[in-house]
């Protein structure tokens, strides 16, 4: 068993806007590119060019369809990575103390030196947000780019997670949820930001902004335009009247 800190000074995390995410996978690959090079072991790709390619990713985009009665079916793109939960169930189950939550910012990390790859944390995570790297035998998960956000070798504007920096549609936001005036806190307040599976009691820090309501199969049913006339002669009358005013 590993202890969670009783509280954290900051609650760093992501807001992901499901109304804006087009499912392009830019965040998935940017994350892979940064993180295979940086924190801990590389993110391996087993059978990379073969019949069953299977690599480690810290962030994946899933696509779902949702269809309510009488409505057109909707396609929802759902990016998923570690939610850096306040009551992270992956930490207490760790037998070696490898999984931990940082006191200063709430980021949940794996200390790979201590990780023996038992996979208990992945079993405990209700979101499926951890992946055991098949080559290194250690557990991998989103680090919230802890090696970017404080990185003094990066320009200040780049001290954000790589998925946020790269997102073309601006659907990903990074900030401190402990600060009610932060950009992310305001977004959550304005747009009804949601916890993922709140019934699990994990208190996820990351929030999702729900898709705005969409038009149903009949569209928005705006009232039809008023005809000047059904006949071409009527149209020409309108034309003459209008031209006089120009």
């Amino acid at each position: 068993m590993t202890q969670l800190p009783t509280s954290t000074q900051k609650k760093l995390g992501l807001v992901i806007d499901l109304d804006t995410c087009v499912g392009c996978h830019a965040c998935v690959i940017s994350c892979k590119g940064w993180n295979t090079n940086e924190y801990g072991a590389p993110l391996s790709d087993m059978d990379a060019y073969g019949g069953d390619p299977s690599g480690t990713f810290l962030n994946r985009v899933h696509t779902f369809e949702a269809k309510a009665e009488g409505c057109a079916s909707q396609t929802v793109h759902f990016p998923k990575s570690c939610l850096h939960c306040e009551d992270a169930p992956c930490v207490p189950v760790c037998p070696t103390g490898a999984s931990y939550k940082r006191e200063e910012d709430g980021i949940v990390l794996v200390n790979e030196d201590k990780c023996m790859g038992c996979g208990l944390c992945a079993w405990a995570c209700p979101y499926g947000a951890r992946e055991l790297d098949q080559m290194a035998g250690v557990m991998k998960k989103c680090t919230l780019c802890v090696d970017r956000i404080y990185n003094e070798n990066l320009p200040e504007e780049d001290r954000i997670p790589s998925c946020v920096r790269t997102c073309p549609s601006g659907a990903r936001h990074f900030g401190d949820f402990a600060d009610p005036d932060s950009h992310v806190s305001k977004l959550v307040a304005e747009r009804g930001g949601m916890d993922l599976m709140p019934e699990q009691g994990t208190k996820p820090v990351n929030k999702y902004l729900p898709p705005r309501p969409k038009a149903d199969v009949n569209g928005t049913q705006a009232p039809a335009l008023e005809a000047q006339s059904e006949e071409i002669t009527g149209f020409l009358g309108w034309l003459d009247r209008t031209l006089e005013k120009i």
């Binding site: 068993m1 590993t2 202890q3 800190p5 087009v22 499912g23 392009c24 830019a26 690959i29 940017s30 892979k32 590119g33 295979t36 090079n37 940086e38 590389p42 993110l43 391996s44 790709d45 087993m46 990379a48 060019y49 073969g50 019949g51 390619p53 299977s54 690599g55 990713f57 369809e65 057109a72 793109h77 037998p95 940082r102 006191e103 990390l109 802890v146 090696d147 956000i149 990185n151 003094e152 790269t166 073309p168 549609s169 601006g170 969409k214 038009a215 009949n218 569209g219 928005t220 049913q221 705006a222 009232p223 039809a224 335009l225 006339s229 149209f235 034309l239 209008t242 031209l243 120009i246």
Partner: protein, 945 residues
């Protein structure tokens, strides 16, 4: 309980030794990238924040460029074929031998009959250079891949308003309040579209997506219109009907900026019927209501009539606008008349028309920016109609796509939303009138250059590339009566025409970056057979094939000589204003690629190879007077070539002092300047010049200063297109240049000066009950316009492609999870896995395109899912239509432009169980891999731990 313990972390690792900034080439978007170099190797790629295209963001392909650069499928040496075509057996050769072979083939052709070389490039981003090379060589048989990509979109836009969507312009993302997007899964402007959609969402704009398939951009739209494929034109014309009927058109805009007031000859049967009435100087005339006289349209202070028959110089004529109104106000285009065919209810069509009108006219934008028009009239403000639109292949890859693209532009123009705030905006060097575009050139002289650029925009039958007997001069039969306005050529017809020897046999097929033996051809299996086919003497019917590619693609296996290209990080390139530049609506820009790392293989950038080949062939523009090579390589050409005096491939830092913008003599330090500036050059357009560009005096003057034009070139939008009418008149028997009898009716039908809708050809020739279903493809965002399959990261996102089946069809056929389907078209049958998708037009099935691969290609294992569960729909599509009643098989393309009508495909489906081997069919014998197979497991980045 293990106590909370935090290890010491290095939160400030050094990322790399150096950042080198260049231009991405993972697709046609051409974003700026920061390539992080560690120990002299590529480590990490991110977007360049200063770059005008992507402003720091980067898509999945862009970030995965690392794996493209290291792909095991990279070719390593020049090679010559040793096995049979298609086997993939090669012998490595030296560059010297490769040049000897190429010169040995090409020199005699040039001296004897240059047209026997067909030079076609695929996803070439250097068309101004490859076209220049082909022109100097002297063959008329050159084009890139536009004919099977989206020429309908380009030609429809150029002929209507001097620019199209795509690279020609973009929505005003910052100001639009209503955005309609038609037939777009992904597009060239991939990151700007995503950034723009994000802005629209943040600004609370409404997005309406018209697409049979609800993925990606369509998924986030507020309103999804799951239209029946091929009916977009009908839907758009019905919207126009509603807007006209309600008087919701911008008459002031139409009078000032379009040819809608132009007087059109109404003397039926006359050789000028349907053409504009002109004065002795050739000016088009309008009827001035104030003076009741016909005056040239550019006359200041007139009040042009928009309706009414008048007589001018003894000719009965009417304003074009009246012809338009009459045409679209008929009952043919009422929402009720079109709803069933479009699969959109009449009420919904009315609702969308009302939305457009409301936003365009009730939510008008005014910018307090004074500007002056080309007639010298001053305007205190800029009025915007904040309805923006965008469209792509979904509307254009049909046999009615040209007129549909025109209809969509006309919808935008009628509400006054082109080149205004909140609407659609051109990107320099557009807007550019069709009259300022080149015409096609086709006069071949042995041993000499062609008489001008190959591709262009015909102004009438006299510009067709046909001989005195009306026979096609080009191998692809572009610019003939079958498809008079085929402005991008017709690459998809080259192999079948060359194989048939129709219009003639060729000697050498020379291709670059075009996977013609696989996903870039209609009916892939037949094309492979044509490439392999031999005559009675055992010689290949297409005698010689030279091919350049960076990767071991399917096409490599069919070539006789391989010229291995570099990856995009190892090469020079220029994304030129002479070509398809990277400008945005507010700025002029171009960019370069440069070798951020040197190749570790014996490969060379294709353009440098062309330059050297040109010098060895003694092509005039590529040698000095003493016969020595004029350019050392492509980089040398980029800096020193001048297309016109002072105007060259790159616009930035010209002149000896490096201060020239657009114009100036070559600057030997130009590439260094680009590199110092992050790989690009950009100049912001002043706000007073940023809108109304075709009519804005300030913009026009600036465009001349920058070398975009040599003289100011204002024009009005050609809503009514007289050029098209000229072809119709010919079909009606007027003029000396006449279509062949069998094409007369088609030319007359298709060449309508005002857009109309007609049923896609294929479905008029088949039994629709037998083939009741539409079958489409889309390219996924993570692989659009990309070479993604060999990319270890991207192939994990899209490594297999099921056929997606609508809910209705799923239920009707009793499909269950894990089933497969037999899909049959008039051209063949494929057997493929299926998946249910409800967010899909009820009569439609679709799949991701170009995921399926031939076994042995791309250095993949032979059990790769791309080769087993992946498949191509191409096997079901033919470049020819089913036989007509007279037994003739016509081209499966748009009758105006020749655009390949991929999306006209109709099929039937039959539920079948999964095959025991889970192998899609058809399947083909593996090709040998000249580069072996990729490594088993990889852990990229390990060397830097």
């Amino acid at each position: 309980m293990t106590k909370h313990h935090q290890p010491q972390l290095d939160t400030s690792p050094v990322v790399s030794d150096e950042i080198r900034q260049t231009t991405c080439y993972m697709c046609a978007c051409r974003c700026g990238i920061n390539v992080h170099i560690k120990d002299g190797k590529v480590k990490y790629i991110e977007g360049n924040r200063d770059h005008p295209v992507n402003k720091g963001v980067l898509c999945a392909k862009g970030s995965a460029g690392v794996m493209q650069h290291y792909a095991p499928s990279r070719l390593r040496n020049p090679m010559k074929r040793v096995g049979e075509r298609g086997e993939g057996k090669f012998e490595d050769i030296s560059w010297e031998e490769a040049f000897d072979i190429a010169v040995g083939l090409l020199k005699p052709i040039r001296e004897k009959d240059p047209k026997k070389l067909a030079f076609f490039t695929g996803r070439d981003q250097s068309q101004s250079m490859t076209g220049w090379w082909a022109q100097n060589y002297g063959t008329l048989n050159y084009a890139a891949h536009g004919g099977f990509c989206s020429v309908n979109m380009a030609a429809g836009g150029i002929y209507t308003m001097g620019g199209a969507f795509w690279e020609f312009g973009a929505p005003d993302w910052d100001r639009a309040k209503l955005f309609l997007i038609f037939g777009v899964a992904e597009d060239h402007d991939s990151n700007p579209i995503k950034m723009g959609l994000g802005k629209l969402k943040a600004n609370g704009a409404k997005i309406i997506a018209v697409n049979p398939i609800r993925t990606g951009y369509n998924a986030i739209a507020d309103e999804w219109v799951g239209i029946t494929p091929g009916t977009d034109g009908l839907f758009i014309l019905s919207l126009i009907h509603e807007l006209l009927k309600a008087g919701k058109v911008d008459l002031n805009y139409l009078i000032r900026y379009t040819n809608m007031p132009f007087l059109v000859n109404q003397v039926e049967g006359s050789a000028e019927y349907g053409l504009f009435v002109r004065d002795a100087e050739g000016n088009q005339l309008v009827w001035d209501r104030a003076t009741s006289k016909a005056v040239p349209y550019e006359t200041r202070g007139t009040k042009p009539a928009m309706s009414g028959m008048v007589e001018v110089n003894g000719v009965q004529c009417r304003p074009a606008f009246e012809l338009l109104a009459e045409k679209y106000l008929t009952d043919e285009y009422t929402p009720e008349a079109v709803e069933e065919r479009c699969g959109i209810s009449a009420a919904r069509i009315r609702s969308i028309a009302a939305d457009i009108a409301r936003v365009a006219f009730d939510e008008e934008i005014t910018l307090d920016i004074p500007w002056t028009d080309w007639k010298g009239e001053k305007h205190e403000t800029m009025t915007g109609r904040p309805v923006a639109m965008h469209a792509m292949r979904g509307i254009s890859a049909h046999s009615n796509g040209f007129q549909t693209a025109r209809a969509l532009h006309i919808l935008q123009i009628l509400i006054g939303s082109v080149e205004v705030p909140g609407g659609f905006r051109f990107k320099p060097p557009y807007p550019k009138s069709v009259e300022d575009h080149p015409k096609p050139h086709h006069d071949v002289t042995p041993g000499a250059p062609l008489n001008g650029p190959h591709l262009g925009y015909p102004r009438g039958p006299e510009d067709l590339c046909i001989d005195e007997d009306g026979k096609a001069k080009r191998i692809d039969k572009a610019f003939t009566w079958e498809n008079p306005l085929s402005a991008h050529g017709m690459m998809h017809m080259v192999i079948s025409n060359a194989h048939a020897g129709d219009p003639y046999k060729i000697d050498t097929l020379f291709m670059y970056m075009a996977n013609m033996s696989w996903n870039s051809s209609m009916n892939t299996s037949q094309v492979m057979d044509m490439l392999r086919d031999k005559d009675e003497d055992g010689n290949y019917i297409i005698p010689n094939i030279i091919y350049s590619d960076a990767y071991s693609s399917e096409m490599v296996a069919f070539a006789d000589l391989i010229l291995p290209d570099t990856t995009y990080l190892e090469r020079h390139d220029c994304i030129s204003l002479l070509d398809r530049p990277i400008c945005e609506a507010d700025g002029l820009a171009d960019s370069i690629r440069w070798p951020v790392v040197e190749p570790d293989r014996d490969v060379r950038g294709f353009q440098s190879v062309l330059i050297e080949l040109g010098a060895r062939l003694g092509l005039p523009a590529m040698v000095n007077e003493d016969g020595s090579a004029k350019f050392k390589d492509y980089a040398d050409y980029i800096v020193n070539h001048e297309r016109r005096p002072g105007v060259g491939p790159l616009a930035g830092w010209r002149g000896k002092d490096g201060k020239g913008k657009g114009r100036g003599e070559p600057n030997p330090k130009q590439l260094n300047k680009y590199i110092e500036n992050g790989g690009f050059w950009h100049e912001q357009i002043k706000p007073e010049n940023a809108f109304y560009k075709p009519w804005n005096k300030g913009y026009q003057e600036w465009a001349v200063e920058r070398g975009i034009f040599d003289k100011e070139s204002p024009y009005v939008f050609t809503v009514y297109q007289e050029i098209i009418q000229k072809f119709r008149l010919a079909a009606e028997g007027h003029g000396d240049i006449q279509p062949p009898e069998h094409l007369r009716a088609q030319v007359k039908m298709a060449m309508d000066p005002l857009p109309f809708w007609y049923e896609p050809f294929e479905q008029t020739l088949i039994n629709k009950d037998e083939y009741p279903i539409h079958a489409l493809t889309q390219r996924p965002m993570a692989m659009y316009h990309s070479w993604g399959t060999q990319n270890a990261w991207l192939r994990q996102i899209h490594g297999r492609n099921p056929l997606f089946i609508s809910g209705e069809l799923w239920a009707e056929h009793g499909f269950a999870e894990g089933d497969w389907a037999q899909v049959t078209s008039p051209n063949g049958t494929i057997t493929v896995p299926v998946v249910l998708m409800e967010a899909l037009n009820a009569k439609t099935v679709w799949t991701w395109n170009a995921i399926g691969k031939r076994k042995g290609a791309w250095a993949l294992g032979e059990d790769a899912p791309e080769t087993k569960e992946g498949f191509l729909l191409n096997h079901l599509i033919s470049e020819l239509l089913p036989a007509k009643k007279d037994g003739q098989r016509w081209s499966n393309s748009d009758p105006v432009t020749g655009q390949a009508a991929w999306f006209d495909l109709r099929v039937n489906i039959k539920r079948v169980g999964a095959p025991a081997d889970l192998q899609t069919s058809p399947t083909f014998a593996p090709q040998a891999s000249p580069v072996g197979k990729g490594p088993k497991d990889i852990a990229f980045g390990e060397e830097w731990k």
